[in-house]
Amino acid sequence: MRMNRRSFLAAGLAAAAGSVAGKAQAGETGSGQAVVGGEVVLATLLDLSKCIGCGACVEACREANAHKYPEPVKPFPKMYPAKVKAADWSDKRDVDDRLTPYNWLFIQTASGTYDGEPFELNIPRRCLHCQNPPCANLCPWGAASKDGRGIVSINDEICLGGSKCKSVCPWHIPERQTGVGLYLKLAPSLAGNGVMYKCDRCKDRIAAGGIPACVEACPEGVQTIGPRDEILAQARKLAEETGGFLYGDTENGGTNTFYVSPVPFDVLNQAVEKGPGKPHLASVANPFTTEDTLARAVYAAPLAGLAAGVLHLVRGATSEDGNE
Protein backbone atom coordinates (compact mmCIF):
# COMPACT_ATOMS: atom_id res chain seq x y z
CA MET A 1 0.00 0.00 0.00
CA ARG A 2 2.87 2.33 0.77
CA MET A 3 4.24 1.83 -2.67
CA ASN A 4 0.91 2.71 -4.16
CA ARG A 5 0.69 5.92 -2.21
CA ARG A 6 4.20 6.88 -3.05
CA SER A 7 3.79 6.41 -6.75
CA PHE A 8 0.59 8.36 -6.64
CA LEU A 9 2.34 11.21 -4.91
CA ALA A 10 4.90 11.15 -7.64
CA ALA A 11 2.07 12.02 -9.97
CA GLY A 12 2.03 15.43 -8.38
CA LEU A 13 -1.71 15.19 -8.22
CA ALA A 14 -2.65 15.01 -4.61
CA ALA A 15 -4.35 18.12 -3.31
CA ALA A 16 -4.03 19.46 0.18
CA ALA A 17 -7.47 18.45 1.32
CA GLY A 18 -8.05 15.76 3.88
CA SER A 19 -6.24 12.56 3.19
CA VAL A 20 -2.83 11.48 4.35
CA ALA A 21 -1.67 11.51 0.76
CA GLY A 22 -2.96 15.02 0.37
CA LYS A 23 -1.06 16.32 3.37
CA ALA A 24 2.17 14.77 2.27
CA GLN A 25 1.74 16.30 -1.13
CA ALA A 26 0.95 19.70 0.31
CA GLY A 27 4.28 19.51 2.10
CA GLU A 28 6.06 18.77 -1.10
CA THR A 29 4.59 21.27 -3.49
CA GLY A 30 3.02 23.74 -1.13
CA SER A 31 -0.53 23.67 -2.45
CA GLY A 32 -3.20 21.77 -4.28
CA GLN A 33 -2.32 23.58 -7.49
CA ALA A 34 -1.14 20.47 -9.25
CA VAL A 35 -4.71 19.25 -9.49
CA VAL A 36 -5.97 22.37 -11.17
CA GLY A 37 -2.97 23.22 -13.28
CA GLY A 38 -1.55 19.99 -14.57
CA GLU A 39 -3.98 17.20 -15.24
CA VAL A 40 -2.10 14.01 -15.90
CA VAL A 41 -3.70 10.96 -17.47
CA LEU A 42 -3.88 8.32 -14.77
CA ALA A 43 -3.54 4.59 -15.15
CA THR A 44 -3.59 1.64 -12.81
CA LEU A 45 -1.40 -1.43 -12.75
CA LEU A 46 -2.88 -4.63 -11.34
CA ASP A 47 -0.34 -7.27 -10.39
CA LEU A 48 -2.54 -10.35 -10.54
CA SER A 49 0.10 -12.56 -8.92
CA LYS A 50 -0.56 -10.69 -5.67
CA CYS A 51 -4.37 -10.77 -5.56
CA ILE A 52 -5.73 -13.19 -2.95
CA GLY A 53 -9.35 -12.56 -3.86
CA CYS A 54 -10.26 -11.27 -0.42
CA GLY A 55 -12.82 -8.85 -1.85
CA ALA A 56 -11.73 -5.90 0.32
CA CYS A 57 -11.57 -3.74 -2.82
CA VAL A 58 -15.11 -4.71 -3.80
CA GLU A 59 -16.37 -3.82 -0.33
CA ALA A 60 -14.47 -0.53 -0.38
CA CYS A 61 -15.89 0.36 -3.78
CA ARG A 62 -19.42 -0.27 -2.61
CA GLU A 63 -18.91 1.80 0.48
CA ALA A 64 -17.17 4.70 -1.23
CA ASN A 65 -19.67 4.91 -4.06
CA ALA A 66 -22.91 4.01 -2.31
CA HIS A 67 -24.01 7.64 -2.44
CA LYS A 68 -23.94 7.46 -6.24
CA TYR A 69 -26.13 4.39 -6.48
CA PRO A 70 -29.61 4.70 -8.01
CA GLU A 71 -32.77 5.03 -5.92
CA PRO A 72 -35.39 4.17 -8.53
CA VAL A 73 -39.00 5.31 -8.45
CA LYS A 74 -41.48 2.43 -8.49
CA PRO A 75 -43.59 1.29 -10.16
CA PHE A 76 -41.62 1.94 -13.33
CA PRO A 77 -43.44 3.77 -16.12
CA LYS A 78 -44.80 1.37 -18.72
CA MET A 79 -42.53 1.28 -21.74
CA TYR A 80 -43.40 0.79 -25.40
CA PRO A 81 -43.08 -1.34 -27.36
CA ALA A 82 -43.62 -4.19 -24.91
CA LYS A 83 -40.35 -5.88 -25.87
CA VAL A 84 -38.49 -3.10 -24.01
CA LYS A 85 -37.66 -4.61 -20.64
CA ALA A 86 -36.89 -2.87 -17.39
CA ALA A 87 -33.53 -3.60 -15.74
CA ASP A 88 -34.00 -3.66 -12.00
CA TRP A 89 -31.18 -4.36 -9.57
CA SER A 90 -32.58 -2.33 -6.69
CA ASP A 91 -33.75 -5.45 -4.84
CA LYS A 92 -30.51 -7.30 -5.58
CA ARG A 93 -28.05 -4.75 -4.28
CA ASP A 94 -26.04 -7.44 -2.49
CA VAL A 95 -24.99 -9.20 -5.69
CA ASP A 96 -21.20 -8.89 -5.80
CA ASP A 97 -20.12 -11.67 -8.14
CA ARG A 98 -20.74 -9.64 -11.30
CA LEU A 99 -21.09 -6.04 -12.44
CA THR A 100 -24.40 -4.37 -11.61
CA PRO A 101 -25.52 -0.75 -11.14
CA TYR A 102 -24.79 -1.36 -7.44
CA ASN A 103 -21.51 -3.23 -7.90
CA TRP A 104 -18.89 -1.63 -10.13
CA LEU A 105 -16.06 -4.03 -9.30
CA PHE A 106 -16.01 -7.78 -8.81
CA ILE A 107 -13.43 -10.52 -8.52
CA GLN A 108 -13.24 -13.00 -11.35
CA THR A 109 -11.42 -16.25 -10.73
CA ALA A 110 -9.50 -18.39 -13.17
CA SER A 111 -8.02 -21.77 -12.46
CA GLY A 112 -6.45 -24.45 -14.61
CA THR A 113 -3.02 -25.55 -15.68
CA TYR A 114 -0.46 -23.65 -17.68
CA ASP A 115 2.91 -25.05 -18.72
CA GLY A 116 2.12 -28.16 -16.75
CA GLU A 117 1.63 -26.13 -13.54
CA PRO A 118 -1.72 -25.60 -11.85
CA PHE A 119 -2.74 -21.99 -11.33
CA GLU A 120 -5.47 -20.09 -9.59
CA LEU A 121 -5.70 -16.36 -10.15
CA ASN A 122 -8.11 -13.65 -9.00
CA ILE A 123 -8.84 -10.80 -11.36
CA PRO A 124 -10.48 -7.57 -10.14
CA ARG A 125 -12.78 -6.52 -12.99
CA ARG A 126 -14.26 -3.10 -13.73
CA CYS A 127 -14.20 -0.45 -16.45
CA LEU A 128 -10.71 -0.18 -17.97
CA HIS A 129 -10.98 3.56 -18.76
CA CYS A 130 -10.10 3.32 -22.43
CA GLN A 131 -7.99 6.00 -24.09
CA ASN A 132 -10.42 6.21 -26.99
CA PRO A 133 -13.58 4.97 -25.27
CA PRO A 134 -16.36 3.78 -27.60
CA CYS A 135 -18.88 4.26 -24.79
CA ALA A 136 -18.11 7.98 -24.67
CA ASN A 137 -17.28 8.55 -28.34
CA LEU A 138 -20.54 7.02 -29.46
CA CYS A 139 -22.83 8.37 -26.75
CA PRO A 140 -25.30 10.42 -28.79
CA TRP A 141 -26.38 12.48 -25.81
CA GLY A 142 -23.12 13.72 -24.33
CA ALA A 143 -23.71 11.77 -21.12
CA ALA A 144 -20.57 9.64 -21.26
CA SER A 145 -17.22 11.34 -21.57
CA LYS A 146 -13.52 11.16 -20.88
CA ASP A 147 -11.86 13.85 -18.77
CA GLY A 148 -8.33 15.24 -18.62
CA ARG A 149 -7.21 12.49 -16.27
CA GLY A 150 -8.37 9.85 -18.73
CA ILE A 151 -11.29 8.98 -16.48
CA VAL A 152 -14.35 7.81 -18.42
CA SER A 153 -17.60 8.45 -16.61
CA ILE A 154 -21.31 8.60 -17.23
CA ASN A 155 -23.28 11.61 -16.00
CA ASP A 156 -26.21 10.13 -14.11
CA GLU A 157 -28.13 13.38 -14.37
CA ILE A 158 -28.45 13.29 -18.14
CA CYS A 159 -27.97 9.64 -19.14
CA LEU A 160 -31.17 8.27 -20.69
CA GLY A 161 -30.26 4.62 -20.22
CA GLY A 162 -30.39 3.66 -23.88
CA SER A 163 -27.54 1.24 -23.16
CA LYS A 164 -25.64 2.09 -26.32
CA CYS A 165 -22.46 2.49 -24.26
CA LYS A 166 -22.86 -1.10 -23.08
CA SER A 167 -23.43 -2.37 -26.64
CA VAL A 168 -20.33 -0.65 -28.00
CA CYS A 169 -18.04 -1.39 -25.03
CA PRO A 170 -16.00 -4.46 -25.99
CA TRP A 171 -16.46 -5.73 -22.41
CA HIS A 172 -20.08 -4.56 -22.03
CA ILE A 173 -19.20 -2.88 -18.74
CA PRO A 174 -21.96 -0.30 -18.05
CA GLU A 175 -25.05 -1.69 -16.29
CA ARG A 176 -28.55 -0.27 -16.47
CA GLN A 177 -31.01 0.58 -13.73
CA THR A 178 -34.54 1.46 -14.82
CA GLY A 179 -36.70 4.00 -13.00
CA VAL A 180 -34.11 6.74 -12.44
CA GLY A 181 -32.81 9.71 -14.34
CA LEU A 182 -33.75 12.26 -16.92
CA TYR A 183 -35.88 10.00 -19.12
CA LEU A 184 -38.56 10.05 -16.41
CA LYS A 185 -39.01 13.76 -17.10
CA LEU A 186 -39.12 13.42 -20.90
CA ALA A 187 -41.14 10.65 -22.53
CA PRO A 188 -40.55 7.64 -20.26
CA SER A 189 -42.85 5.35 -22.19
CA LEU A 190 -41.30 6.06 -25.56
CA ALA A 191 -37.61 6.80 -25.10
CA GLY A 192 -34.90 5.94 -22.60
CA ASN A 193 -34.86 3.30 -19.91
CA GLY A 194 -33.02 4.60 -16.85
CA VAL A 195 -29.36 5.32 -16.25
CA MET A 196 -26.15 3.38 -16.95
CA TYR A 197 -23.65 2.85 -14.13
CA LYS A 198 -20.02 1.82 -13.96
CA CYS A 199 -16.72 2.55 -12.21
CA ASP A 200 -15.85 6.26 -12.39
CA ARG A 201 -12.36 5.71 -10.95
CA CYS A 202 -13.59 7.38 -7.77
CA LYS A 203 -13.16 10.68 -9.53
CA ASP A 204 -14.55 12.62 -6.58
CA ARG A 205 -11.87 11.16 -4.33
CA ILE A 206 -9.17 11.83 -6.94
CA ALA A 207 -10.37 15.41 -7.37
CA ALA A 208 -10.03 15.82 -3.62
CA GLY A 209 -6.46 14.56 -3.71
CA GLY A 210 -7.17 11.00 -2.68
CA ILE A 211 -6.87 7.68 -4.47
CA PRO A 212 -9.58 5.23 -5.55
CA ALA A 213 -11.13 3.30 -2.68
CA CYS A 214 -10.27 -0.08 -4.21
CA VAL A 215 -6.59 0.85 -4.53
CA GLU A 216 -6.44 2.12 -0.97
CA ALA A 217 -8.25 -0.82 0.62
CA CYS A 218 -6.21 -3.65 -0.87
CA PRO A 219 -4.13 -5.38 1.83
CA GLU A 220 -1.83 -6.90 -0.80
CA GLY A 221 -0.98 -3.78 -2.79
CA VAL A 222 -2.33 -5.31 -5.98
CA GLN A 223 -3.12 -1.99 -7.62
CA THR A 224 -0.85 0.97 -8.27
CA ILE A 225 -2.13 4.25 -9.67
CA GLY A 226 -0.14 7.06 -11.24
CA PRO A 227 0.65 8.86 -14.50
CA ARG A 228 0.00 6.58 -17.47
CA ASP A 229 3.54 6.70 -18.90
CA GLU A 230 5.11 5.74 -15.61
CA ILE A 231 2.59 3.05 -14.81
CA LEU A 232 2.89 1.55 -18.26
CA ALA A 233 6.68 1.46 -17.97
CA GLN A 234 6.29 -0.17 -14.56
CA ALA A 235 3.82 -2.72 -15.97
CA ARG A 236 6.15 -3.59 -18.84
CA LYS A 237 9.07 -3.96 -16.48
CA LEU A 238 7.09 -6.17 -14.14
CA ALA A 239 5.96 -8.36 -17.03
CA GLU A 240 9.52 -8.61 -18.30
CA GLU A 241 11.07 -9.38 -14.95
CA THR A 242 8.53 -12.02 -14.04
CA GLY A 243 8.08 -13.49 -17.51
CA GLY A 244 4.47 -12.35 -17.22
CA PHE A 245 1.86 -11.12 -19.66
CA LEU A 246 0.25 -7.72 -20.12
CA TYR A 247 -3.38 -6.88 -20.87
CA GLY A 248 -4.92 -3.44 -21.45
CA ASP A 249 -1.98 -1.58 -22.99
CA THR A 250 -3.15 -1.99 -26.57
CA GLU A 251 -6.65 -3.43 -26.06
CA ASN A 252 -9.41 -1.39 -27.70
CA GLY A 253 -6.77 1.06 -28.94
CA GLY A 254 -5.21 1.37 -25.45
CA THR A 255 -6.70 1.61 -21.96
CA ASN A 256 -5.66 3.12 -18.65
CA THR A 257 -5.72 -0.24 -16.86
CA PHE A 258 -2.84 -2.69 -17.12
CA TYR A 259 -3.14 -6.24 -15.86
CA VAL A 260 0.07 -8.20 -15.42
CA SER A 261 -0.39 -11.94 -15.06
CA PRO A 262 1.96 -14.94 -14.83
CA VAL A 263 -0.48 -16.82 -17.09
CA PRO A 264 -1.27 -15.69 -20.67
CA PHE A 265 -4.56 -13.88 -21.03
CA ASP A 266 -5.95 -16.20 -23.68
CA VAL A 267 -5.58 -19.01 -21.14
CA LEU A 268 -7.25 -16.88 -18.45
CA ASN A 269 -10.00 -15.95 -20.88
CA GLN A 270 -10.75 -19.64 -21.41
CA ALA A 271 -10.80 -20.21 -17.66
CA VAL A 272 -13.01 -17.36 -16.45
CA GLU A 273 -16.76 -17.50 -16.26
CA LYS A 274 -18.16 -15.13 -18.90
CA GLY A 275 -21.65 -13.81 -19.42
CA PRO A 276 -23.85 -10.84 -18.49
CA GLY A 277 -21.89 -8.60 -16.10
CA LYS A 278 -18.88 -10.94 -16.37
CA PRO A 279 -16.52 -9.59 -19.02
CA HIS A 280 -14.05 -11.59 -21.10
CA LEU A 281 -10.28 -11.21 -21.29
CA ALA A 282 -9.85 -11.68 -25.03
CA SER A 283 -7.67 -9.32 -27.03
CA VAL A 284 -9.56 -6.41 -28.55
CA ALA A 285 -8.49 -4.48 -31.65
CA ASN A 286 -8.80 -0.69 -32.00
CA PRO A 287 -12.37 -0.09 -33.20
CA PHE A 288 -11.74 3.44 -34.47
CA THR A 289 -9.00 3.08 -37.07
CA THR A 290 -11.43 4.04 -39.85
CA GLU A 291 -12.79 7.08 -38.02
CA ASP A 292 -9.32 8.27 -37.01
CA THR A 293 -8.31 8.25 -40.66
CA LEU A 294 -11.58 9.78 -41.86
CA ALA A 295 -11.21 12.58 -39.32
CA ARG A 296 -8.48 14.13 -41.44
CA ALA A 297 -10.78 14.17 -44.44
CA VAL A 298 -13.51 15.74 -42.30
CA TYR A 299 -11.17 18.59 -41.31
CA ALA A 300 -9.94 19.12 -44.87
CA ALA A 301 -13.32 18.90 -46.60
CA PRO A 302 -14.70 22.40 -45.86
CA LEU A 303 -11.42 24.03 -46.87
CA ALA A 304 -11.16 22.01 -50.06
CA GLY A 305 -14.77 22.83 -50.91
CA LEU A 306 -14.24 26.50 -50.15
CA ALA A 307 -11.11 26.66 -52.31
CA ALA A 308 -12.94 25.01 -55.20
CA GLY A 309 -15.90 27.37 -54.75
CA VAL A 310 -13.70 30.46 -54.80
CA LEU A 311 -11.85 29.23 -57.88
CA HIS A 312 -15.14 28.56 -59.56
CA LEU A 313 -16.23 32.14 -58.88
CA VAL A 314 -12.97 33.67 -59.93
CA ARG A 315 -13.14 31.80 -63.21
CA GLY A 316 -16.31 33.75 -63.85
CA ALA A 317 -18.84 31.05 -63.40
CA THR A 318 -22.34 32.40 -63.56
CA SER A 319 -25.44 31.99 -61.49
CA GLU A 320 -26.30 29.40 -58.95
CA ASP A 321 -29.77 28.29 -58.08
CA GLY A 322 -31.02 29.17 -54.69
CA ASN A 323 -31.25 26.04 -52.64
CA GLU A 324 -29.88 25.78 -49.14
Partner: protein, 141 residues
Protein backbone atom coordinates in the same frame (compact mmCIF):
# COMPACT_ATOMS: atom_id res chain seq x y z
CA UNK B 1 -21.02 18.48 -62.58
CA UNK B 2 -23.83 20.92 -63.19
CA UNK B 3 -25.88 22.59 -60.49
CA UNK B 4 -28.80 20.20 -60.76
CA UNK B 5 -26.62 17.20 -60.21
CA UNK B 6 -24.87 18.95 -57.32
CA UNK B 7 -28.21 19.76 -55.77
CA UNK B 8 -29.27 16.16 -55.99
CA UNK B 9 -26.03 14.99 -54.39
CA UNK B 10 -26.54 17.61 -51.68
CA UNK B 11 -30.07 16.48 -50.91
CA UNK B 12 -29.19 12.80 -50.86
CA UNK B 13 -26.22 13.51 -48.59
CA UNK B 14 -28.38 15.48 -46.17
CA UNK B 15 -30.97 12.72 -46.09
CA UNK B 16 -28.33 10.06 -45.47
CA UNK B 17 -26.75 12.20 -42.73
CA UNK B 18 -30.12 12.57 -41.03
CA UNK B 19 -30.65 8.84 -41.21
CA UNK B 20 -27.22 7.83 -39.95
CA UNK B 21 -27.44 10.60 -37.34
CA UNK B 22 -30.68 9.26 -35.92
CA UNK B 23 -29.16 5.78 -36.10
CA UNK B 24 -26.77 6.99 -33.40
CA UNK B 25 -29.68 6.86 -31.00
CA UNK B 26 -30.93 3.49 -29.82
CA UNK B 27 -34.27 3.83 -31.61
CA UNK B 28 -34.10 1.76 -34.77
CA UNK B 29 -33.80 -1.49 -32.81
CA UNK B 30 -36.47 -0.43 -30.30
CA UNK B 31 -38.93 0.57 -33.00
CA UNK B 32 -38.56 -2.55 -35.16
CA UNK B 33 -36.82 -0.93 -38.16
CA UNK B 34 -33.82 -3.21 -37.59
CA UNK B 35 -36.19 -6.21 -37.65
CA UNK B 36 -37.26 -5.50 -41.23
CA UNK B 37 -35.37 -7.92 -43.47
CA UNK B 38 -32.41 -6.12 -44.99
CA UNK B 39 -32.46 -3.34 -42.37
CA UNK B 40 -30.51 -4.97 -39.54
CA UNK B 41 -27.60 -2.63 -40.35
CA UNK B 42 -29.66 0.35 -39.13
CA UNK B 43 -28.94 -0.78 -35.57
CA UNK B 44 -25.20 -1.21 -36.20
CA UNK B 45 -23.75 1.78 -34.33
CA UNK B 46 -20.22 1.42 -35.64
CA UNK B 47 -21.27 1.14 -39.27
CA UNK B 48 -23.55 4.17 -39.02
CA UNK B 49 -20.84 6.11 -37.23
CA UNK B 50 -18.36 5.48 -40.05
CA UNK B 51 -21.03 6.32 -42.65
CA UNK B 52 -21.86 9.55 -40.80
CA UNK B 53 -18.18 10.56 -40.94
CA UNK B 54 -17.93 9.75 -44.66
CA UNK B 55 -21.11 11.64 -45.48
CA UNK B 56 -19.94 14.58 -43.38
CA UNK B 57 -16.89 14.85 -45.64
CA UNK B 58 -19.20 15.23 -48.65
CA UNK B 59 -21.52 17.70 -46.89
CA UNK B 60 -18.69 19.89 -45.57
CA UNK B 61 -17.08 20.03 -49.00
CA UNK B 62 -20.40 21.03 -50.58
CA UNK B 63 -21.06 23.67 -47.92
CA UNK B 64 -17.57 25.06 -48.46
CA UNK B 65 -18.20 25.13 -52.20
CA UNK B 66 -21.44 27.02 -51.78
CA UNK B 67 -20.21 29.59 -49.32
CA UNK B 68 -18.54 32.03 -51.75
CA UNK B 69 -21.52 31.82 -54.12
CA UNK B 70 -23.97 32.31 -51.30
CA UNK B 71 -22.10 35.32 -49.97
CA UNK B 72 -22.78 37.16 -53.22
CA UNK B 73 -26.52 36.69 -52.95
CA UNK B 74 -28.98 38.93 -51.19
CA UNK B 75 -29.93 37.46 -47.84
CA UNK B 76 -33.43 37.18 -46.47
CA UNK B 77 -33.96 36.78 -42.73
CA UNK B 78 -34.81 33.10 -43.09
CA UNK B 79 -31.74 32.52 -45.25
CA UNK B 80 -29.58 34.02 -42.51
CA UNK B 81 -31.23 31.74 -39.98
CA UNK B 82 -30.71 28.70 -42.20
CA UNK B 83 -27.07 29.66 -42.75
CA UNK B 84 -26.56 29.99 -39.00
CA UNK B 85 -28.02 26.51 -38.53
CA UNK B 86 -25.69 25.05 -41.18
CA UNK B 87 -22.74 26.74 -39.53
CA UNK B 88 -23.84 25.46 -36.14
CA UNK B 89 -24.27 21.90 -37.40
CA UNK B 90 -20.89 21.96 -39.14
CA UNK B 91 -18.99 23.44 -36.20
CA UNK B 92 -20.52 21.20 -33.53
CA UNK B 93 -19.97 18.21 -35.83
CA UNK B 94 -16.31 19.12 -36.27
CA UNK B 95 -15.89 19.48 -32.52
CA UNK B 96 -17.40 16.04 -32.04
CA UNK B 97 -14.92 14.57 -34.50
CA UNK B 98 -12.08 16.29 -32.67
CA UNK B 99 -13.11 15.01 -29.26
CA UNK B 100 -13.23 11.48 -30.64
CA UNK B 101 -9.51 11.56 -31.44
CA UNK B 102 -7.59 9.29 -29.07
CA UNK B 103 -5.34 12.01 -27.62
CA UNK B 104 -8.05 14.66 -27.30
CA UNK B 105 -10.32 15.43 -24.43
CA UNK B 106 -12.94 18.11 -23.85
CA UNK B 107 -14.67 18.85 -20.60
CA UNK B 108 -17.73 16.66 -19.99
CA UNK B 109 -19.92 19.78 -19.86
CA UNK B 110 -18.68 20.98 -23.23
CA UNK B 111 -19.21 17.53 -24.72
CA UNK B 112 -22.78 17.55 -23.45
CA UNK B 113 -23.55 20.99 -24.88
CA UNK B 114 -21.91 20.21 -28.21
CA UNK B 115 -23.98 17.03 -28.54
CA UNK B 116 -27.17 18.82 -27.63
CA UNK B 117 -26.60 21.82 -29.90
CA UNK B 118 -25.70 19.54 -32.82
CA UNK B 119 -29.10 17.94 -32.44
CA UNK B 120 -30.77 21.29 -31.70
CA UNK B 121 -29.44 22.95 -34.86
CA UNK B 122 -30.66 20.02 -36.96
CA UNK B 123 -34.17 20.40 -35.52
CA UNK B 124 -34.11 24.17 -35.96
CA UNK B 125 -32.90 23.87 -39.54
CA UNK B 126 -35.74 21.47 -40.26
CA UNK B 127 -38.22 24.05 -38.97
CA UNK B 128 -36.62 26.89 -40.94
CA UNK B 129 -36.64 24.88 -44.16
CA UNK B 130 -40.24 23.87 -43.57
CA UNK B 131 -41.21 27.50 -43.03
CA UNK B 132 -39.40 28.56 -46.19
CA UNK B 133 -41.06 25.87 -48.26
CA UNK B 134 -44.49 26.83 -46.92
CA UNK B 135 -43.82 30.51 -47.60
CA UNK B 136 -42.69 29.77 -51.14
CA UNK B 137 -45.86 27.72 -51.72
CA UNK B 138 -48.05 30.50 -50.46
CA UNK B 139 -46.30 32.94 -52.76
CA UNK B 140 -46.74 30.64 -55.73
CA UNK B 141 -50.44 30.09 -55.04
Amino acid sequence: MNNRALNLVFRLTVFALLFTGFAQMPIFARYYLADVPGFAWTADYHLNHVLHYGLAVVLLALLGWRLPLALRRRWSASAVLAALCWAGIAITGLVRVMKNQPDAFFSPTLVMWVDWTHLGFVMLLGLVILARVLAARRKAA
